[in-house]
Symmetry: C2
Subunit: 247 residues, 2 copies
């Protein structure tokens, strides 16, 4: 197998309301599932407050490190919506009312396009718009950074628009194996299997059900052959440990 | 009002399973609510994979910037549980089986203390243990970093243990005002109120219900007098806008 061209991503959640606990984030899990499904590795998530230096710093750190950055939140019509201005600052470009965005806002039936609403047409110079099929006010892409709404339904509609524009890599395949054993009973042999199969990543996730502590093992890889071999090795190990413990 | 002594915090979630989307994080919201409730400002959250350089880098960045850091995940008995070793590395201290942690693990009835389980007793030199009232295997505190389990029930039990040890600041008080108006109709006057009352932070959160788009306004401050004055100003503004729109 040749080394695949891995595509990586970071998510940047912007908003005081997530950090205060008032709003429980629903977007991180959605984006994580979506990226995994299209063959992009989500490598980092950050949540930052509605403060310019924090947003600018995070945008610049993440866009330098990963193939793509996806931001959520802070693109509405109120004073606390500062994401577009911060992204312009991070890229060192100007920002103004974008005629394409103004035209989209004008499509909203019966809407008075006042000063506040025009704020949603402020787009950094050089950015492409991301269509918002739910409520018109667009997101945008500049460089490798995709700026999306924070409202989950709108954010999800924007992901649909973004999908065809992204470079994707080979998908990670995964097998989940319910161990029926406690983590502590399998930790040592499982670690040896991980060492023997470096092309897979084995995760061990404990949980508790009515019968007590149990473990899900997840084997992940882009290499099908290695995935099958490691999964077989894990199954054999589990059978061994079960037999030892039943003696 | 004198400037209060603000106490800040960051949360570091460690785990591939959150980034792949397999597991949906439940701890960020819990810790955010808990910190707000005891008067500590959560200023940043990061999620990183089970990779040493990423964990070490995040621990060092966050502990230098905030009063406290709280980590979740990666302290179990399997090969992918590398948080304790990474935190030791971040602090430049050694790590070994800690007799206090071994003694706690020995309290588990009927438990064979094998090599894998002893991994849960690996604690960086100089750390204090954080009691785990659910399943014994302890967390630990070193410097301003608190290392906790990822399983929500165990993480929550650890928060209870940590609470009395923390320095806390004056609590942020908040008032939520259902606007009954769209964000775009109030954005401009709301921004003027924010400017007039710099001791408060006003957040504007749109939502959709059966009657269409609506907005919750949240006024937050540590200064009760400013909070009341700004809240009154917001209420008066909302009445004005409603009247104008009904003409």
């Amino acid at each position: 197998m040749t080394t695949p061209d891995i595509v990586t991503a970071a998510v940047l959640v912007i908003g005081d309301e997530i950090l205060s606990g008032r709003t429980k984030d629903q977007n991180i899990g959605t984006i994580a599932d979506w990226l995994t499904g299209i063959g992009i590795d989500l490598k980092e998530v950050r949540v930052v407050p509605d403060e310019e230096p924090e947003i600018v710093g995070a945008v610049n750190a993440l866009r330098a490190k990963y193939t793509y950055v996806f931001t959520t939140g802070g693109i509405g019509p109120t004073h606390d919506d500062i994401t577009a201005d911060c992204v312009a600052k991070a890229f060192g470009v100007g920002i103004d009312h974008d005629p394409r965005a103004v035209a989209l806002l004008q499509q909203i039936p019966g809407m008075v396009l006042n000063e506040a609403r025009l704020r949603m047409a402020r787009i950094p110079n050089g950015a492409d718009l991301i269509v918002n099929s739910v409520s018109k006010a667009p997101g945008f892409r500049i460089g490798n950074v995709h700026v999306m709404a924070g409202v989950p339904k709108i954010m999800q509609a924007m992901l649909v628009e973004i999908a065809p524009t992204l470079k994707t890599g080979p998908k990670v395949q995964s097998v989940t194996i319910p161990a029926g054993l406690k983590e502590g009973d399998i930790g040592t042999p499982l670690g040896l299997i991980q060492k023997a199969y470096p092309a897979v990543t084995i995760g061990s996730y404990p949980f508790q059900d009515e019968r007590g502590y149990n473990t899900n093992l997840v084997v992940r890889s882009r290499d099908t052959e290695a995935l099958v071999a490691a999964t077989n090795a894990v199954e054999a190990m589990l059978a061994d440990v079960r037999e030892q413990l039943s003696r």
